[in-house]
Amino acid sequence: MIEIEDFSITFGSGKNQIRAVRNFNLSVAEGESYGLVGESGSGKSTVLRAMVGINSHWDGTIRVAGEALTHKRSVESRKHMQMVFQDPYGSLHPRRTLDDTLSEPLVIHGLDNREERILKILKEVGLGPEFRFRYPHQLSGGQRQRVAIARALILEPRVILLDEPTSALDVSVQAEILNLLSALRKAHGLTYIMVSHDLAVVGHLCSRIAVMNRGEIVEEITEDQMRTGEVTHAYTKQLWTASQGYDRAALETFQEFA
């Protein structure tokens, strides 16, 4: 479904040049759920932003469903790949009702039956029709993230890119959103790429996980390796250990990976 080869992105030039992502290769099958984990600055979000066309100056090849993406994206090509952002407080327009927010992608892509589609999608993400004319400030964080998911889903995409979809939420709300995401994937046969710094969250939703450090994939692991902690690369091991909770003895063995 998604193939990325020799992908790289560089920001800035001269001595301020930062190679945010380099030698990046990825292959995700249709209906798969793939995870990207890494610490801040590892380039994981940058990859997603290039895929949806927010960053346009990447090098390499990105193929979605066999078709190579061009740097200047057509409106139609954007329809099949949608993104859910980290912060539900920042990603919804504060002065637009949910109806406006959900209609906008429909207008851009010239889809009809808008009312019907909006009511259907609200129901799917677990919000009733009474939410349709509310503003974001009238919703809780979890409800807002449901709207952000509805906005991505309303175009009936085949791929959804999730950029830390639950990191701004409480653990109880996080469980609800994770359950919703896995139910939607089953119902629509969606392909997910999920970015997170939380190994447990990625491990819950994804079957294969790439660990990134300083713009490169250091290791690709399966869900079984994630459960048992039988990983080969030292960086992955360290990340896994740190996710187990506070451990003074383990901390002494930590090192910097440059």
């Binding site: 610490e39 469980a175 994770l178 447990a200 740190a242 451990d247 901390l251 930590f254």
Partner: protein, 305 residues
């Protein structure tokens, strides 16, 4: 002291026999808003010794307001009430604004969540640390600078001289939080209130920051209140945990016994965490019971039945 009794009261510190550093009973924080009164903290009581006490809860559970009330940092429309709020023999409820100023930052410090917003963007970090020192103690500029540099070294910043003259936007999140800790520790406080000190940080950096706080508790005998929403983190780091919901303490228990928690709210919170060794099944969703907000009204404050 039996385990059972500990759970019942929540007032027992990890070092029985010693007088607690902070003792709070029946704390209420209320806010007057245009939409009516918001009762954020409802009858919280606990004792803090020279230990690591964790307060966990979801957003809106009143955990941060509990920490802020101790330092009288509650917003202007808020009111604090408590039948007892003692710090080292002083009654904080009766203390004048002047007394509070002498305690705040000097004997009880607070680390805020996000270093990006808590550091002054137009002063170098070194100046800010030295200012905290000069504000509370009568020392010369040179002495304050020397102590600030020493403090930066204590929080394991490699090139203190270089970092001293950096501005907050030039440092990373983890380093920013270490600078905040340096600023708060330079006055050698007896109690540190850390309000989500690591939730903006990467897991490995989070461990390093926590180990610094751990050192302070072990080596200086400081009391630490760690406010967090991360149950796993708190249970692995703290000695004791208070679980809050709706402004009340639902349960108080030893951190190492967290997996044996009795209260349905604590159990619910634990169950809805995705686990590294878990499978892809749907996570159990937390069900809230309105009865939790009234239970125990007939027993002393803070006691979770």
């Amino acid at each position: 002291m039996t385990m059972n009794k500990m759970k019942m009261t929540g007032f027992e510190t990890s070092s029985p026999g010693e007088a607690p550093l902070i003792s709070v009973r029946d704390l209420h924080v209320r806010f007057a808003t245009p939409k009516g009164q918001v009762h954020a903290v409802r009858g919280v009581g606990f004792d803090l010794g020279k230990e690591r006490l964790g307060i966990v809860g979801e957003s809106g559970s009143g955990k941060s307001q509990t920490g802020r009330a101790l330092l009288r940092l509650t917003a202007g429309n808020g009111s604090i009430e408590a039948s007892r709020m003692m710090f080292d023999g002083k009654d904080l409820m009766q203390a004048s604004a002047k007394t509070m100023r002498s305690i705040r930052g000097s004997r009880i410090s607070m680390i805020m969540q996000d270093p990006k917003y808590s550091l002054n963007p137009v002063l170098t970090v070194g100046k800010q640390i030295a200012e905290s020192c000069r504000r509370h103690e009568n020392v010369s500029r040179a002495e304050a600078k020397r102590r600030a540099l020493a403090m930066l070294e204590t929080v394991r910043i490699r090139e203190p001289e270089k970092v001293y003259s950096l501005y907050p936007h030039q440092v990373s999140g983890g380093m920013g939080q270490r600078i905040m800790i340096a600023m708060m520790l330079i006055t050698n406080p007896q109690v540190m209130i850390a309000d989500e000190p690591t939730s903006a940080l990467d897991v490995t950096v989070q461990m390093q920051v926590l180990s610094l706080l751990d050192d302070m508790v072990r080596e200086r005998g400081m009391g630490l209140v760690l406010i967090s929403h991360d149950l796993n983190l708190v249970s692995s780091f703290c000695d004791r945990v208070l679980v809050m919901y709706g402004g009340r303490i639902m349960e108080s228990l030893d951190a190492k016994n967290l997996d044996q928690a009795q209260h349905p709210y604590t159990r619910g919170l634990l169950n809805c965490l995705p686990r590294l060794d878990g499978n892809h099944d749907d996570l159990p969703v937390l069900r809230r019971d309105p009865a939790w907000l009234t239970e125990g009204d007939d027993v002393p404050e803070g006691g979770a039945a």
